[in-house]
Every structure is written in C-alpha cells, then in structure tokens.
Amino acid sequence: MIRSILGRILTATINNSTIITTTTTTTSRTLSHFAFKPDTAAVSDGDTTRMNLFQAINNALEIALVSDPKAVIFGEDVSFGGVFRCTVNLQDKFGKDRIFNTPLCEQGIVGFGIGLAAAGATAIAEIQFADYIFPAFDQIVNEAAKFRYRSGNQFDCGGLTIRTPCGAVGHGALYHSQSVESYFAHCPGLKIVIPRGPIQAKGLLLSCIRDQNPCIFFEPKILYRLAVEQVPVKDYMLPLSKAEVLVEGDDVTLIGWGTQVHVLHEVCEMARDQLNTSCELIDLATIMPWDRETVINSVKKTGRAIVAHEAPLTAGFGAEIAATLQKECFLHLEAPILRVAGYDTPFPHVFEPFYLPDKWKCLEAIRKSINY
C-alpha cells in the first residue's frame, strides 16, 4: 500500500513510454511532498543570516516597523508572536499600540485595516489562515480593491497589506490547506503575491508593505520552518509583478508559485534524468498583476507549457495563464498547454497525498507534452 509519496523509484516501460511509480518506504504522515531547494543570496547583498520562512517574515516586519513609524501590525493572536511565530518579539520591541490583537473577526480585521490605510497609516493585517479570509471577501473585493478607483483617486487604502498563511501542510484538511489566490485574481485593484522561500519572502513582503496598492501576501505555511536560507540582513525589496526564471531550458516551460516551485524544481531534474527533457522553470511570484512578458517569452522559446498549482483546476489561476499563452503564443505552441492542479474537490484530510499535484503528476504532464 502506498502510504507516502516519498519512496524508492521504480520505472517500467509500457507502450514505449516511461511510467514512474513509487513504493513506500515510510508511513510517516509528516513528510512533505517536495524537497525544499534553497536560494543563495548574491555576494553584493551583504551580510546574511540563517533564517527560515517565518523568521524572514518576522525580519521583514521588523524592518517595516523601524523604517515607518506609521506602520502597525494586527490580527488574531499576533501580540504573543502569532500562531506561526511570524510576529514574535515585535510587541516587546515596538509597543502595544503598534502590534496588537484584534477581536476574532476577519471582516473586522480587513475593514479596520482599510480605515487605517485610508487615514494614512501603514496597515499590516494578518488573517490566521487563508482559508478564513472569506469572511473578509466583501471588504477586500468590494472595498479595498475599489477604494482608489471609485473615489477618483481622492482616497486610497494603498497602505494595506494582508498577510496570510496558505497552501497544503500535510494534514490541514479542508480549512487549513486552501490556496485561494484565484478568487482574488479576478478582482482588479489588488496585488497578490506568493513567495517560495525566505530570501524572496523578505524582499517581496517589504515591497507589498511599501507598495501603494492593497496587497495580499500569501505565505506557504509548510515552508515556515522547513525552508531555510542565508537571508540578507539588510533592508531590501524585490519587484512585484516580476516572474523569475529559476532554471533555463529549451523543451518545456513549467510555471508555478509558492511551494509548487520546489515540486517543479525536482521535476526539472527528474525530466532531465528520466525523460531527457530540458525544462525551463518559472516562479510567477506575483499572481496579480502577473508578469506576462517573462512567461510568454519562455513559452515562445520552448513551445510547450505546463502550469501547476495546488488550488483546484477549474478556474484556477492556471486557466488564466493558459488562455493568455494560447492567445499570445499560438503559432509557437507544439502541444496543448497542460494544467496540473488540485482536483475539483474540497481539500481532503487523509487523501492529501493523492490530491496534490505532486512531482509524479507533473512529470507525467511533461511526458505527455513532449510526446504529443
């Protein structure tokens, strides 16, 4: 019985194609479905410190608070450091009027944050899990996103950033696992950002906080402790709406974000070793407004594209990317654009290993694409 997705690889040849399977060697439920691939900071970035994702976020928040006296952080349980430790020690350093707990009410948290931002403050709100952002959907979609537009740019809530943990975590089931980015991608006026690791998270979060548009910053919670990198100590920002080509390749373009980038990273190696295929890997990083140029240029080069995300397939953000690519790269495409995604079901508990768009499913998509 296959109880874990980690295991020894067996390959077999059926119908002239390689089918890859695993056998289980462990039954631990805590093992993740990917291997974290750390980034390396450039020497020019100066001193670095070893940080995991939650520490990098904590570091970014601290820098934001130091550099901007108007910045405040609030949400459920942030005072004592947060349920994921992202705000640890901040209240001691910056005081109770800057780091504070709110009542347990997501629509209140976001509405309150919009008001703060409208009055000129820098509002950094936390929603404890992305799964619980929906009570604030109205405030985000009808209010935050439209504040500037509807007032003719007289008022805005550009100082608002909403941070929230997202994505699969191994055992989070329906309400501690969701990837909800595409609900918000359909809403003009918002920026949506998802980092893949500590270095990127710090730079992108600082950009979100300082960007003059309401931003939702999704933090892949499975990476909080697992992802460790040497993170630059200095205050730095990474550009929004900029995708990153992590692996250059010629045969297929793989597009992902957050944790899925690491899955795809491994898939690149598997494809090279097992399918003799050269993959180009792109981390989209900003979901809205997304970097169409980088993705389009890559697909024009490779002629093949696979988008992979944890969120369900139908109307997931992969659909937007695929539709754009078929319009912009129609004459370059050698195969249909494939999407490897969560199934169109709620996110299940014990079935998580079967639900996720893991490396085997992604590898199979590459095989189909190149054999098309």
Binding site: K70, G108, F112, G115, A117, S151, F155, S241, R292
Partner: protein, 479 residues
C-alpha cells in the same frame, strides 16, 4: 461590588432605566449605575456624570479603579475568593436564583430631546444657545438640501439622471451632527447624509456633478449618483455595500489616535445596515481598541420595505452599544438641537476618554427609499403624511427660529427663491457639462496602470476607431 462592572449586569445597568428588573433586583450598585449612566432627561447630566456630579464622580472613581484592577489582572486568572465569580470572561457575582435576563422586563431607552414639536425648548438648560448666524446657517442648509432633493428627484423621474435618493425627514440628523463636530473630523457615511457635505460647504455644483457623472465629478463618473465624497472636506467617498464603512471608520479613528491628531471619526449608518456583520465587527473593534469614533445610527423605521420589527427584536440599536462597552444614547433625530448636543458630548467623550460612542437618532424616512422604490407598496400614505406634517425637522427648527425672532415669512420666501435659484443654476450647469473622457475608465485601478490594462485601453481605442459611431462618444470629453 467592584467586580460587577464588566459583567452582564453592566449591560442591564446601562440599558434599563427604571425597569422592572430594577424593582426585582434593587441592589444599590445597579441603581447607581443606572442613574449615572442613563437617566438622561438632561444631556449635561450625560456628559457631566463623568466629571461633575458628586455621586457619579464617586462612581467614576470606582469604575476607574475597577478598570485598572481588571487591566492589571488581565493576564492573570487566579481564583482568589471562592465566593466571587472570577471567570476570565466576565467578573460578576454568583446567584442562586435561576433568572434569565428577559428583555421584556425592561423599559426601553428614552429618547433625548431639547425642543418639542412646536419648537419650544423644554428645559432651558438644554438649549445650546447657538447664535443666530449659526442656527440660520443650519436652517438654510436643511432647506437647501430639501430643494436640491426635489429637483434631483424630479430629474431622475424625467430620466435625466439614472438614480437618486432623497433625504426627506432626516435633514436634522445631518446638520445637527455635522455642526457639532469639526470640519476636519473624518466622515464615513452610508448614502443618506448629503446634508453633512452641505454643512461643510460642498458646492451644490459638485453634488450635481457627481449625480450627473460629468467632467467636474471628483469621482470621474465612476459611481452611481449620491455616492459623494471629497478629500478636501474629509468626507470619505460613499460605497454601496452597507456597513462596510463601519470597521473602516474604526481603523481611521485608531490611526488618528496614534497620530495624536485630536480628531474624531463619525460613522453614519441606518438601522437596517446595523444588522450586517460589519456593524458587529466595528463596535467590538472600536471598544476593544479604544478608537475615538462616533457611531451615528439613523433609525428611520425602514430598510427599503423592511420595517424595524423585522429588522430586530431588541430595543433598537442603542441598547447594543452598552453590550460592547460603548457609551450610548438615543436622541430625537427630528430635533436638531438634541442631535447637536448629543454629538458634541459624544466627541468630548471620544477625545477625553479615547473610546467610541453610539448615537441612535430616531427619525422617519419620509421619502421613498430611492427612485427605484415606491414606498406606498408597503406603508400607508397617511403614515408618511403624518410624519411630514406633524414632526418634521425643518418645520420644528423653523418654529424655534421664529420664536427667537430670527426668521419670518418674508425671510422664508426670500430664501426659498434663493435656494431654488442656487439649485437650478447648478442643475443647468451640471447637465450641460460633458462626461469625463472615457479613457478615465482605466485610470486609478492601481496607482500605476499595469501593462495588461494599458493593452486593454489600447484595444478600446482601436475598437472605437472602427465602431465609434455606435457609441455615445460625443457626450464625453475629448482628451
């Protein structure tokens, strides 16, 4: 006794003046609290009970010491005395009789008024003694709004604007409250508060420009009519979703407090909107985060067709305030002076005590909900007429002014003509102006236009080059 403060009894204390509950449970602490907090035949008592009244001073000190004790002990929940109820969620007393706190046993919270329907001040001490200029400014503002409402309502009926909402019967709540706060206090409104803008000197031209969505509209023609807003006059642009402005107002008030601005935020909403979850969020956040915000409820009896008895079963909106730990008062919304006094006192509490206040202004929606509504489908014409004729804020204020010798029939005629002229001039101007350039549609979605949106804007331009004849281009400003 000390530990009664934050318990359920506190709610009862505040809400239930002279109630049956009292007669059944005549504990001295209960009755004292009631007297000091809500025995308001007298608005000064309401303000001063916190500072001057001897009895309440004692109370206040008690409350303060209680609060400090509670604050200090917030992080610790150790049971000190087995006879005291020391649950972390509420400090209270144990009782051995099984007693539900039945709302039917309480008398409703009284309505504070300064003058009666004949414009007679009932208690001279309550007359804020505002001078002639100030009071005639209020009166002129109310009647100007009324004139504008009539013209724009008709204008919609003739298909000249797409939508309108009048303010009939609620003019007193707008002007009474707006006059009591500073023009730099930030306003978050619902949509029936145009009088606040008029009080602050917003030109009729600009109101009309918004309703017509013309090139002078500050909102660039993007919102429906009556969704006013102006940064210069600290009035946040109105949005249609009800109550969303409420937690936002709390956030803005918190920011003001941190900036030490000595400014308050006033947040208007109807009694229907108070059923939204955002109302709950706002009051709870404002109380726990000590935000200097005035929640101003216009309880006009209806939310479109829904009468209040289908909106709530408690004693209106005001009784909810104390449940959140918010000082609250109910006023006669057709009495400008009562609204003024209460709002002035509320601002004082906000600033001096750094906490929110809830005002429920009782009034009646004389007009239809909007131009898309015929209210005779759900309420009698007689009911509407009785409010219009017997208890109208404009009529009442006029009587007050006449008694002071500040107004008469001649002035009335003269001003009516002048108001009409102002409104019609603005109306004609608004109608003549073109709409903004249609490319404004793409601006301000973000601070900087994303490339993908630029591309869509270009696509529209290209499209119009070919198909422009099918679009009302000539109504729109050309670059």
């Amino acid at each position: 006794m000390l530990k009664l403060y934050r318990s359920t009894s506190f709610v009862c204390n505040i809400c239930k003046n002279g109630s049956k509950f009292l007669s059944q449970h005549s504990s001295s602490s209960y009755s004292n609290k009631i007297r000091t907090t809500f025995n308001v035949n007298n608005i000064n008592l309401f303000i001063n009970q916190r500072t001057f009244c001897a009895e309440s001073q004692q109370q206040q000190q008690q409350q303060q010491s209680q609060q400090s004790i509670l604050q200090e002990s917030h992080n610790v929940s150790i049971i000190n005395d087995q006879n005291e109820a020391e649950f972390p969620g509420a400090r209270s007393k144990f009782v051995t009789n099984l007693q539900f706190f039945d709302p039917d046993h309480f008398e409703n919270i009284p309505v504070y008024r300064v003058m009666n329907r004949d414009g007679l001040v009932l208690d001279e001490k309550q007359d804020p003694n505002l001078d002639k200029e100030f009071m005639t400014k209020i009166y002129k503002g109310m009647t100007l709004l009324n004139s504008m409402d009539r013209v724009l309502y008709e204008s919609q009926r003739q298909g000249r604007i797409s939508f309108y909402m009048t303010n009939y019967g609620e003019e007193g709540t707008h002007f009474g409250s707006a006059a009591a706060i500073s023009n730099n206090d930030l306003v978050f409104g619902q949509y029936r508060e145009a009088g606040v803008l008029i009080w602050r000197g917003f030109e009729i031209d600009k109101l009309m420009a918004q309703c017509y969505g013309n090139s002078e509209d500050l909102h660039k023609g993007r919102s429906m009519p009556v969704h006013y807003g102006t940064r210069d006059l600290c009035f946040v642009s109105i949005s249609s979703p009800l109550s969303t402005q409420m937690p936002q107002a709390v956030g803005a008030a918190y920011a003001f407090k941190r900036q030490n601005q000595q400014r308050v935020v006033i947040c208007y909403f109807g009694e229907g909107a108070a059923s939204e979850g955002d109302f709950h969020a706002a009051l709870n956040f404002a109380a726990t985060l000590s935000a200097p915000v005035i929640f101003f409820c216009r309880n006009n009896g209806y939310a479109i067709s829904t009468p209040t008895h289908e909106q709530y079963r408690g004693d209106g909106i005001v009784c909810r305030g104390p449940a959140y730990g918010i000082p609250s008062i109910r006023v006669d919304g057709n009495d400008v002076l009562a609204v003024y006094n209460a709002t002035l006192a509320a601002k004082k509490i906000c600033l001096e005590e750094s906490r929110p206040v809830l005002i429920e202004a009782m009034t009646y929606r004389i007009g239809h909900h909007s131009t898309s509504d015929d209210s005779s489908a759900y309420r009698s014409v007689d009911e509407v007429r009785s409010w219009d004729q017997k208890d109208h804020p404009i009529t009442r204020l006029r009587k007050y002014l006449e008694q002071k010798g500040w107004w008469d029939e001649d002035l009335e005629k003269c001003w009516k003509n002048e108001a009409k002229r102002l409104v019609m001039t603005a109306f004609v101007k608004a109608e003549k102006l073109p709409k903004p350039n249609y490319m404004e549609m793409f601006e301000d979605v973000y601070d900087v236009m994303p490339k993908s949106l630029m591309q869509q804007a270009e696509e529209l331009k290209e499209h119009l080059k070919i198909y422009g004849g099918n679009y009302p281009i000539s109504n729109f400003k050309q670059n």
